[in-house]
Amino acid sequence: MAVRTLLFLAALLVLALIAPLLIANRFLIDVLTLILFSAFLGQSWNILGGYAGQFSFGSVVFFGTGAYTSSILLMTFGIDAWIGAIAALFAGAAVGAFVGFLSFRYGLRGSYFALITLAFAEVFKVLANSVEFTGGGIGIFIEHEPGLARLQFDDPAGYYYIALALTVVSLAIAWWLERSRFGAYLKAIRENEDAAEALGVNAFRCKMYAIMISGAMGGVGGTFYAQKFLYIDPPIAYGVATSVEMLLVSIVGGMGTVFGPLVGSFVLHGVNEVTRHYIQTPGLSLIVYGLILIAIIGYLPNGLIGLFKGRARPKDAEDA
């Protein structure tokens, strides 16, 4: 990576670190927190969908399981949320392993994989609605007792820093994928699974690792959500909307790129805030989301990031 890019990223990180000190408007801090959080969840989708090419329509299943895991540990057993977050990480990875083992073992690819993940999310939603320990349809209310052990804060900046840390970690994971042999395997599987296998890549194992990493991230994200909003129920934990948002930010920003989800999240949430500011009608921002998704697929298949990378391409062509 060029020195200039590194300097730019370092400056960006410093700016992100001191942002809560510069911004007096606490609402704006909340918006930034959500943007970062959404970028984090998007990155979780991106690892499986963008790098490994396995499009999931039900990635919310990891998020919801994580949210329920830490919330049940906290409210039923009195276990602090930071331990809950670790439990949620493993729970998310376990659900990832479960869904992944079944889907990949039986060779589901492409649209079939998308559909089965959607169905898994649906099954989890119905189950969460029907069993006792999740609070059924009533959901779980989480007590607000600010403190680092509980990952709850009076000042929105507390949540902001946690979301920032999550985002930085997720960027680091994607960065590692870009550089590592494992990441190269995933990309090979994405481009042509049969060819990758023929070259000796264990596609099943790589896809399992990818879905488990994705699941672990989603699980931790669930804990963060529950501690911030202090309430979860089956539609929040396992609803389609979150799955869609996860893939939306990645695709809009640029699938299979390190900064795609972050860029996508900034743009989509920016659009959302602006439309909400001018027209206060339900649904309008989502209409815009849908149109952006269609336009990106139709005209910018590499996402917004592709706009910048596109310039380098003619040079590559000359080399070849």
Binding site: Y106, V123, I287, I297
Partner: protein
């Protein structure tokens, strides 16, 4: 056991609903069979058909069964145009792009409906809504009986269209071998759009038949998305008979499941069938082996 005596009633009710499910799934399976794409906007388009039927009734006073004559052709042209000048142009021929574009369309339609029609559930009040037929062991609401037979008739008409007409022959040719079809002079893009239009016309019919005994709100379509996919996968992607049989199986599963497991847990049966079929027999009951 109490539920044993209710069992036949549950099965018959399941069959009634299953016919509508079959009609919805038929559109999906046709689109899959010919275009090899998964139309994720299927539920949202059904929702639009339901709204069209609803407004034809409430604004113009047209009976839902009469509006079949308007909504079905309207849906066909809408579907045709949507594919010809929308989906087909934007997808660049990649399957996953189509999946995402139809997902985008579903988001736009659903929230467009929310924006224009509000989130309120709408029902219509037709004079015959509460009339019923007595079969001895079960009372059946008249609208459900009508929709049952109408759905079967439409399935039969569609089969005739595919089997006996030149258009059907062209569609089947494209479904089997699109390059070959292009070589013998079939306009493949036109046939793709035709198939998509016919698939959406099935939804138009389902909307008209469904509304008298159902309701519509912007998220109605979501109920049918998983169900329609389950039926199509169960029956075998692209199989007409499969969609019909799958529709009945799912309709019965749902009503019997609801009887034994309760309203909330009963829905799990459908998703579980879906997952199990995808895992163990992805070609479905009537699908050809790949």
């Amino acid at each position: 056991m109490l539920s044993m005596t209710m069992m036949p009633a549950a099965i018959v009710n399941g069959l009634m609903f299953g016919a509508i499910y079959a009609l919805v799934a038929l559109g999906l399976t046709l689109i899959y069979g010919v275009l090899h794409i998964i139309n994720f906007a299927h539920g949202a388009l059904l929702m639009l058909a339901l709204y069209a039927t609803f407004y034809l009734f409430s604004l113009a006073g047209i009976d839902p069964y009469v509006s079949l004559l308007i909504v079905v052709p309207g849906s066909f042209f809408f579907g045709y145009a949507l594919y010809r000048w929308g989906i087909g142009k934007l997808a660049h021929g990649r399957d996953q792009n189509i999946l995402l574009i139809t997902l985008g369309l579903a988001i736009v339609f659903e929230n467009g409906a929310l924006f224009l029609f509000s989130a309120d559930q709408q029902t219509i009040d037709v004079p015959y809504a509460y009339e019923s037929l007595d079969l001895g062991f079960v009372f059946l609401a008249l609208p459900k009986v009508i929709s049952f037979f109408a759905s079967l008739t439409i399935c039969l008409l569609l089969w005739l269209l595919m089997a006996k007409t030149d258009m059907g022959k062209a569609i089947r040719a494209v479904a089997k071998e699109r390059q070959g079809a292009r070589l013998v002079g079939i306009n493949v893009e036109h046939v793709f759009a035709l198939s998509y239009g016919i698939g959406i016309a099935c939804l138009g019919a389902a909307g008209c038949l469904l509304l008298p005994s159902f309701y519509v709100d912007p998220s109605t379509g979501n109920i049918f998305v998983i169900i329609a996919f389950t039926i199509v996968v169960l029956g075998g992607m692209g199989s007409f008979v499969g969609a019909l049989v799958g529709g009945f199986i799912i309709g019965i599963t749902e009503s019997v499941g609801g009887l034994y497991l309760g309203e909330s847990l009963g829905q799990i049966g459908i998703s579980l069938i879906f997952i199990l079929i995808l895992l163990f027999r992805p070609t479905g009951l009537f699908g050809s082996k790949v």
